[in-house]
C-alpha cells in the first residue's frame, strides 16, 4: 500500500471521527507522514514514492469545491423552513477554511419555477463567497420553460476548465412535450412535473441537441484530461417511476467512455448515492430541503444508504457537500450532513469496493 493511499485513508478516518477541517487535517497528515518516515516505512517503498512523484508532475492540482443543491424554495420569504435551510448551507460553505475553489449549485433552487422563488434563491445563493456555478433542475424550468432562470443565471449548458479538470454542466431534465396537446397552463405544466410520483410523468433526457453539443465540446479535450460532469438527474437508470433516471443515459455515457477519469455528480435524488459504470463514477448530492426515501428497487450496489431520517429534526438527512479532487482527476466525495457525521465516499473505496459499509451514524 502506498503512503499516499494510507494518508487518504487516515484523512477519511480523521474527518469522519472528529470533523477536522482541511487545514487541521493537513497538519495531522504531515505529522503522520513524519511519523511514518521515522519508522522507516518510506524506505521500504521508496521506488513507489518516486513513481507517485512523477505522476504528480503530470497530474492535476488537488483542490476542493463545494456544492449546494435542491433547496426547493417557495415564495414565502426567508423565514420559510426551506429558505432557512439554504441560508444555513450558504453560511456553512462560507465558514469552510480554507475556502473551496468554487461552489456548484445542483438545481431545483425553486419549487414551482416562479419568479419570486427564483429571486429569493438568487438573493440567498449570491451570499456564497467563492465563485458560483449554476445548474438547472426541473422545478426551475417548467413554469416558464426556463425564461427567468436563464435571465438570472445564463445558459443551462456550458463547460469550463479548472486546474487541469474539464467541467461540464448539463440540463438533463429535458422531457418530451406533454403540455401542448392537453393545453396545460404554465402552472399545470409545472405541477405535473413537480409531482415525483406522477404516474404519467415523463422520463428526463439530455436530448439530441445537447448530446451533439457535448460531443463537440469533448472533441477538443485530450483523453487524459479528467472530466467532471454535473447533471441534475442521475446520468444512469435507477428508478423510472420517480424519475431517478435519464432516458438517454447510455448515449451520454458512451460519449464519455474514452476518457480516463470521469465523474458525474448529480442532484435530484436528495440522498447519498454511489455508482460506477465502466469508467464513470457517480455521486449524488444532498438536498438542503428534505431527504427522499430510497427507491424500492434499482439502488446501485456501491451505495451505502443513509440511516432513516428523524422526522422530529428538520435538518436531519439534509445538508450539502464537498468534493476533493485527487491528482489523477478522480474525486473523494463528502456528504456534509447536518447533525450527523460527514459521510465520505473516497475514490479508493469506490474503485475497490472495500470499506463500503454503513457507518454508525449516517
Amino acid at each position: 500500500m502506498s503512503i499516499r493511499k494510507r494518508k487518504q485513508d487516515r484523512k477519511t478516518e480523521n474527518e469522519s471521527l472528529s470533523g477536522l477541517n482541511r487545514r487541521e487535517f493537513l497538519k495531522t497528515a504531515i505529522a503522520t507522514g513524519v511519523f511514518a518516515t521515522g519508522s522507516g516505512l518510506i524506505t521500504s517503498c521508496s521506488s513507489q514514492t518516486l513513481v507517485r512523484q512523477a505522476e504528480v508532475k503530470y497530474g492535476t492540482d488537488e483542490f476542493t469545491f463545494a456544492y449546494i443543491s435542491d433547496s426547493h424554495l417557495l415564495a414565502r420569504g426567508r423565514e420559510h423552513r426551506f429558505a432557512k435551510s439554504l441560508i444555513k448551507a450558504v453560511e456553512d460553505v462560507n465558514a469552510l477554511e480554507p475556502q473551496p475553489d468554487f461552489v456548484l449549485y445542483g438545481g431545483d433552487l425553486a419549487q414551482l419555477g416562479l419568479k419570486e422563488e427564483l429571486s429569493l434563491g438568487k438573493e440567498i445563493i449570491a451570499g456564497v463567497k467563492p465563485k458560483l456555478y449554476m445548474m438547472v433542475g426541473e422545478h426551475d424550468w417548467y413554469f416558464d420553460m426556463g425564461e427567468v432562470w436563464r435571465e438570472y443565471f445564463g445558459k443551462p449548458t456550458y463547460s469550463f476548465d479548472h486546474k487541469g479538470i474539464h467541467f461540464i454542466v448539463l440540463n438533463s431534465v429535458v422531457v418530451e412535450d406533454y403540455w401542448s396537446k392537453p393545453k396545460m397552463t404554465p402552472m399545470e405544466r409545472m405541477l405535473f412535473m413537480a409531482q415525483l410520483d406522477n404516474p404519467k410523468g415523463r422520463p428526463f433526457t439530455v436530448g439530441k441537441e445537447q448530446c451533439k453539443w457535448l460531443s463537440n465540446d469533448l472533441s477538443a479535450i485530450n483523453k487524459n484530461t479528467p472530466i467532471i460532469v454535473f447533471s441534475h438527474s442521475p446520468l444512469y437508470k435507477l428508478y423510472k417511476a420517480w424519475n431517478f433516471w435519464t432516458d438517454d443515459a447510455e448515449e451520454v455515457q458512451e460519449l464519455l467512455s474514452t476518457f480516463k477519469a470521469v465523474t458525474v455528480i448529480h442532484g435530484h435524488t436528495h440522498q447519498a448515492l454511489t455508482n460506477k459504470i465502466r469508467n464513470i463514477t457517480f455521486h449524488g448530492m444532498m438536498s438542503t430541503a428534505w431527504p427522499w426515501p430510497y427507491a424500492p428497487e434499482g439502488i446501485p450496489k456501491l451505495t451505502v444508504q443513509m440511516d432513516r431520517p428523524d422526522p422530529f429534526n428538520q435538518f436531519d438527512g439534509t445538508g450539502w457537500g464537498i468534493v476533493d479532487t485527487l491528482h489523477d482527476g478522480n474525486v473523494n466525495k463528502t456528504y456534509k450532513l447536518w447533525d450527523r457525521n460527514p459521510m465520505i465516499v473516497s475514490y479508493d473505496k469506490v474503485s475497490t469496493g472495500r470499506g463500503l459499509v454503513p457507518g454508525p451514524s449516517y
Binding site: L74, R76, H80, W290, W292, F312, Q314
Partner: protein
Amino acid sequence: MKTTHKMFMGLIAILMMYAASVNADNNSATNVSNVIQQSNEQSVQIVTACDGKKKVIVEGYKEGEPMPEQKAREVAKLLTALMGYCEEEITAKIPETEIAIQLSINGDPFISVTAIEELPLVLVHGGKPHTEREKRIWAAELNRMIDTGYKIFHDPTLGTNGISCDMCHPNASNTHPETYPKFQTQTKKAALLRDMINWCIENPQEGKKLSDDDPRMKALEAYIISERTGVILEPGKH
C-alpha cells in the same frame, strides 16, 4: 324439523345402498356420463336433488358403489343444506382427499369452503353470490375514498407553508403504516398511524391537526394503507 330429519335419515339409507340418483331427474344419467368424461375416467358418483338444481359430485366412488356411512352422512348433510337454497343452481364437489368442498353457484367458477356451515356466507344477499356488478360498485366506492386520500396527500392545503405529504413521501414511501401501532420514541408514547400523520401535518407542514373521525384523516389512512398492499403487518416494528 321432523320432516327434514326423516328425509335426512332416508337419504343416508339410500346413499348407502346404491347412491346413483336420489331424484327422479331423467337427465341424471347423462350428467353422470358427462362428468365421468370430464374427469378423465376418475371415479365419481353424482347425487342430485331439487329438480336437478342441486348436484353433489362425490369423487372416489364409482357409480353404484356403496359409500361408507361417514361419507354418506357428509353427502346427505350437504344436500340437505343445499336444498335450503332451492332457487339456485348449485354444484358441489366433495374431493376424495381434501377437506374443502368445492362449490359452483349458477355456473360460476368453483370456490372452496371448508365447512357446510359457511354456505350462508357464500350465499349472502338472499342466497345470491356477489355479482360482478356488485364487486365493481364496491371497488368504485373504496377507490373513491382512496382517491380522496391521494388528493389530500398530494395537496398542500392541510398545511400553511405550501408543503404537501407527497414531496417527502412519494407513493407514501417511508410512512410504514404496517408498523403501527408502535412506540414513538420521540413522544414516548405508543402511537397509531393517525398520530404520526397529525405530527407531520403540524410540523413539516405547519398545519392544524385533524380529529380522529375527520373524513380527511380517514381518507389519508385509506390511501397510505392502499399503497402498502401485500406488505406484512408488523405492529411495533422500528
